[in-house]
């Protein structure tokens, strides 16, 4: 979900920077107030671990594919929302600076889409209420079930919010011609599946921590009650079955409608959307201006008939001289490269 710089307009990028910086300022203020200097190395080591841990491929049983864990939920469950948020900022900054995953100007948006929702929404609205509730009853097994529920719901909700923000930011930037509705229909279902898998993986790690060192988890009641032990595998299996049933039901429901992208491209006449995208499914690729153009090119490909460039003055102001100029820029770029090589060779010989 890492956005590249190219997907954002400067105004949107700046707005997202302001929003993320404000959230970072609030987090720093809270952490300073807590005055726990020993937390900084813990944050650093944990974020380094989460950074590396996101590269692990977890095999999803019954499928050939693999999933990854959800960083924001994991960090806020281990470090709390404020420290988790700062740790996520740092992870995203390293990913962007050293691995080109994201962009320098898109960092503000990426922090918002992944860290803000994952840490603040995920912690305050999902993790803490669920962990503080009496869901699943009392005792250790109930606590484990709550951790799994909070992780799965948290990851699904925060990923959905993040994906929606990506669509919103890209559309506001005027980058894509893909209509907003179609873009949403494309992004949300994919991230629903990703969120579910990420949630299950995150919950597995958090349940392991709970079993070994429960005091490391935020908002977990350390008072142990009942003894009925339910294995992690069985809880994961129950949630997976529920997810399959829900997913299957949703897909059955969805199959009565055209595919999201197909709907977006060609419209759904039954639903009254036949004109919203402007494409005609029957004639698509058969009779279109592009096909006509391609046909006319085919007729003329043996030799270019003339260089009259009819209608080369375009709405975008792109003229033949512009193209020639761009070619010259390319020439200048090559010259710079040659000059650079020349200077370096000269340096080596001295």
């Amino acid at each position: 979900m890492h956005m590249a710089d190219a997907l954002l307009a400067p105004a949107v990028a700046a707005t997202m920077y302001v929003a993320s910086t404000t959230a970072a300022g609030v987090s720093i203020h809270h952490l300073k107030k807590d005055d726990e200097p020993q937390k900084l190395p813990v944050m650093a080591v944990t974020s380094a671990l989460v950074f590396a841990g996101q590269m692990i491929n977890y095999t999803i049983p019954g499928t050939g594919s693999s999933g990854h864990m959800c960083g924001g939920m994991m960090l806020s469950a281990l470090l709390g929302p404020y420290a988790g948020f700062l740790s996520m900022i740092v992870i995203l900054a390293i990913q962007c600076l050293f691995f080109a995953d994201g962009g320098l100007m898109a960092l503000g948006a990426n922090v918002w889409n992944m860290a803000f929702y994952g840490c603040f929404v995920g912690y305050f609205l999902i993790w803490r209420p669920i962990m503080g509730s009496k869901w699943f009853g009392e005792g250790k097994s109930a606590q484990r079930a709550r951790i799994i529920a909070a992780s799965v719901i948290g990851c699904i909700v925060t990923l959905q919010l993040g994906a929606f923000s990506v669509v919103l930011e890209t559309s506001l930037s005027g980058i894509t011609e893909l209509p907003f509705g179609a873009f949403v229909a494309l992004m949300q279902p994919i991230h629903l599946a990703i969120g579910l898998v990420e949630g299950l993986i995150t919950s597995a790690v958090l349940v392991f921590i709970y079993e070994s060192r429960p005091e490391l988890l935020q908002g977990v009641d350390l008072e142990e009650g009942g003894s009925a032990k339910r294995s992690l595998k069985s809880v994961v299996a129950i949630i997976a079955v529920v997810a399959l049933v829900v997913g299957g039901g949703l897909s059955l429901l969805a199959s009565s409608n055209p595919d999201g992208l197909e709907w977006a491209l060609f419209g759904n006449a039954d639903g009254g959307y036949s004109t919203n995208m402007g494409l005609d499914e029957e004639n698509f690729g058969v009779e279109s201006s592009v096909a006509d153009t391609a046909g006319s090119i085919q007729e003329k490909t043996s030799f270019l008939p003339d260089y009259a460039f009819p209608g080369s003055e375009s709405a975008a102001g792109t003229t033949v001289s512009g193209i020639v100029g761009s070619a010259m820029v390319a020439g200048v770029a090559i010259l710079i490269c040659l000059a650079g090589g020349f200077f370096r060779r000269k340096k080596k010989t001295t």
Binding site: H2, A4, D5, A6, L7, L8, P10, I28, K32, P37, Q38, L40, P41, V42, M43, V45, T46, S47, A48, F51, G53, M55, Y58, T59, P61, V90, I94, L97, F98, A100, M105, T176, E177, L178, V205, F208, I209, S212, V236, G278, L279, S288, V290, S296, L304, D306, P310, S312, S314, A316, T319, S321, I323, V324, S326, V329, A330, V332, I336, F343
Partner: protein
Amino acid sequence: MNKMQKALAELSEMDELAARQSPIHALHPAAKLIATIAYILVTLSFDKYDLNGIVPMVLWPILLFQISGVEVRTCFYKLRIVLPLVMAVGLFNPFFDKEIMLRVGGLAISGGVISMITLMLKGVFCLMASFLLMATTRIDNLCAALRKMRVPSMLVTLLLLTYRYVGVMTEELAIMTDAYHLRAPGQKGIQISAWGSFLGQLLLRSMDRAQELYSSMMLRGYHQHFHYADIKPFKARDGLYVAVCIIVFLLLRYVDVAQLLGGLFVR
């Protein structure tokens, strides 16, 4: 080589590039950071159909590649991460924006194609700018510059510490992954029975390690502020570099260089 080992190799390559000597490496990190941000902002501000305008923006990164001696190949390897997403978004443009904007010798080019190419160029140029910043600047120098620019100490120290530990953790996980696969040949990824314990065990060890790290930092005199050994002063040439860069970017933004150059030859 597994995913983590590749990441480690990429990290050490960036470190080696940043440790080289060149006029660009010698510039103050803050100057490079400001120039990079200005470049990206100007590049992003071009209209989606302004292909003519954006092409000359390539000159700045190319010039920097040449002066710094950093290989373009290393940067283009990173395009594998940026381009798919940009392309996924941009590839829809030709389908939705079919208004013909340009005819060249009978070939009709739609607005969607132009905006798709512009978007891809924006992606490549911004990547080159960020890459050049990190390939010519050491992370500790960048952090020192960020502190000078009043970025909160907590965030900067966290960035530096995390960067140090990213190498350690990635290496440990790479070894663990190799060990796991050697014991479970033919398995792709980590099986569900080890989902929790695989990372969980390392996480528990890491928490203890963090406590030891804090103790060692305290013994070395850490008092919530990190001291940077090599802080470069911001010299006049750094200021000049920023000023020249910004003027050139603005010129490239508001003067259609491609059009002007082409106009010399085509009427």
